[in-house]
Symmetry: none
Subunit: 221 residues, 4 copies
DNA sequence: AATGAATGAGCCTTCATTCAT
DNA sequence: GATGAATGAAGGCTCATTCAT
């Protein structure tokens, strides 16, 4: 898939271009780092391996990142943050039913994160938060708080419009997000040990449960 | 309890003769290891630190465990497995409503794992499963499969007795357990970054949602 | 001269004793470090080489010194400082002519430092002072200031007793010490390039010059 | 003077075409290298720093010097050697008293070396001679031997003319030069740690001492 | 001629593991 | 059984050197 650094030496055809921009951080490097950090964890990932997977030498990493930890932080920043702005935009423009908005949020999360290599980030953060409090705090403040804000707005909108029952919004956010995150974490860790959870069905079931729990029961009458 | 390593050096005369059979693994060691593995992750935990916390010398660890990985496995084995048998016993003896049985399962999990130092184990497993497939497999086969079996029995019982709607049991198991695990993982990782989730309310909300989703809707009419 | 680490492995007879005291810094290590620091300079000396010369493994160095710089500092501390107290004692007890006292000081310096492996320390300090301001300051405060104090006392004594002409004491100290230091530095660096300066004759000549410059000229009349 | 590397990037259009023959070594480079070698020592000086101080890119250094060591040698050659010829000329033409000639030699050394950035060269040579025997030998043969030759001629002249007492000329050379060199070394290393030696007074004192030691004592009668 | 991104060998430092006591 | 000094392999990081542009 990714050409090994070794072969690159002999087969100098498909080499990475030598001239590059020093100020912008090449995404090959963070992509390789993301893969390996998710797979092995931060401490167990060697910079040699990241460099090899990115097709560069070890020293090259240090042209773009001060040290291993800085690379870790860059992986997180680059991976998740850009997605949030787009989601916020979409939410703001939507005008239909609130329950549908919840559905779109969950599906969007699945398509852009859960079913992507980015699904590994939550596991990574969870696994390393104690060792990198600064990164954890950053992730909390920019990703978690902001993500919760998205869902909070939808829930409040639904309650206001009488679509949802009055409920403890913060708790609801927790309960709604938890299975999504757990799914991502599961698929980044133990899933290979047993049967693969069917993500689509899982999400559907979760959403159905929610629909009953969230909504006022007009339809039932 | 355990004499500090320091004092042991000076007062080596009046030492309590610490007789331990080589086959019985002292729980101080696994307890110390559990704490540190959960806190720092496997790779970032030094055997020096484990030994220091357990109040023994580093060499002593090797009297009971072949190597660091064996210690890791012992931590998992010793921590979780013993709890499952007890739970299975209780489930078997219960005779009341199935929904109440589900509630007891969740509450029992919370009291014996979620609100214990053992809450860190799921995070640990998730974080290290890729590096220790063998341990991951062990955990999967003995803890996850067995735990799912517990819940599966309850759900089938409920369906059979007409208390629960017919449902995809495996998916339901996933959806029911996910928030619990996520709660444990959260409290073992990022919780300190923001507001502490109130576990009791979280569990209650989760259970209420479930109740509506699981049960046949007689009451509603 | 010093058995290489390699041979020590095979010929396990003359091994360094395995059991040692962790709190006291073994002088083999600082001795080896002194030799190599003087010979190659701080940066160009590899810890491997120091360890090999001391007959231990590289890791052992870290049992006794936090890092390379700490080892450097220990070399300086251990090497020179102990000698000063003894010299101060001797000076205080002496009761004869001041010029003779000066001579004893110079000769004593030669015997205990200049003609010893310690002769390399001045070169080392000079070469590395800019990179290790802290060590340089330490050396200045404990060795240089104290050494100057020794000579200052003698000069003042001589002036007071009318043996020496009145003179700018501080300048005299500089002028008196400079050739000694230069001799030590020379012998630690370039001496091998050309003819070896004859130290005894050099010191004698220096002393003779001084004698004429320092003393009142009674004898000349 | 030399356009900074930064501006060169942006304003690369109106650059002064910097034509330099490969055989002529630009003195900006050696000057920058001298400063840094003296300040940090050879090993601790990075080529990046030298290039930055000279206002060129790191690669440019390799257009003029084969490697770091060659640059080191060039620094020494370019720094000191040119001064000797001029001094030899002056000595040859002088016709007055020999003691005055000694004085001029010392003062000239002070003005052209001791009080210049070149004062750092002796320290540098001393510090690195063991690592670069070839450079040390070169320095010995061209600078030291030749410098000693200068002084030797003066001393022999003085003895011949009856101005100086008969003396061991080689030893005298050592004793005369040592304080000068020590002064230069001191000012290149530890001087900042304590009080600054007053160079003028130091040299004067040294010279006065010498005058008494060197000269025949006619004047005393 | 000049640049500076890329390289990779080398060194300091850590830490799991061993073993003499 | 217990200790802890010693080991040495491994990994993060640096920096002299190269080379495509």
């Amino acid at each position: 898939m990714i050409p090994a650094a070794q072969s690159a030496k002999t087969v100098s055809v498909s080499r990475t271009p030598r001239r590059r921009r020093k100020d912008e951080q090449p995404s090959e490097l963070t992509a390789a780092a993301l893969d390996l950090f998710v797979e092995k964890g931060f401490a167990a990932t060697r910079l040699d391996d990241i460099a090899a997977r990115a097709g560069v030498s070890k020293g090259t990493l240090y042209l773009y990142f001060d040290n291993k930890q800085a690379l870790f932080k860059a992986v997180v920043e680059e991976g998740i943050v850009p997605l949030l702005a787009a989601a916020e935009q979409q939410m703001a423009e939507y005008e239909g039913a609130s329950l549908e908005l919840v559905r779109r949020l969950l599906v969007g999360w699945w398509q852009q994160i859960g079913d992507t290599r980015l699904a590994g980030v939550p596991k990574l953060i969870v696994a390393e938060s104690r060792n990198f409090p600064e990164v954890a705090q950053y992730y909390h403040d920019t990703v978690i708080v902001r993500g919760r804000g998205l869902l909070r707005a939808v829930l409040l909108r639904g309650i206001e419009r009488g679509e949802f029952r009055p409920l403890d919004v913060e708790l609801a956010i927790d309960v709604i997000f938890a299975p999504l995150l757990m799914l991502a974490i599961w698929r980044s860790s133990l899933s290979y040990c047993g049967r693969e959870t069917a993500p689509q069905a899982f999400l559907q079931t979760h959403f159905d449960l929610l629909a009953q729990g969230l909504c006022t029961q007009k339809g039932k009458e």
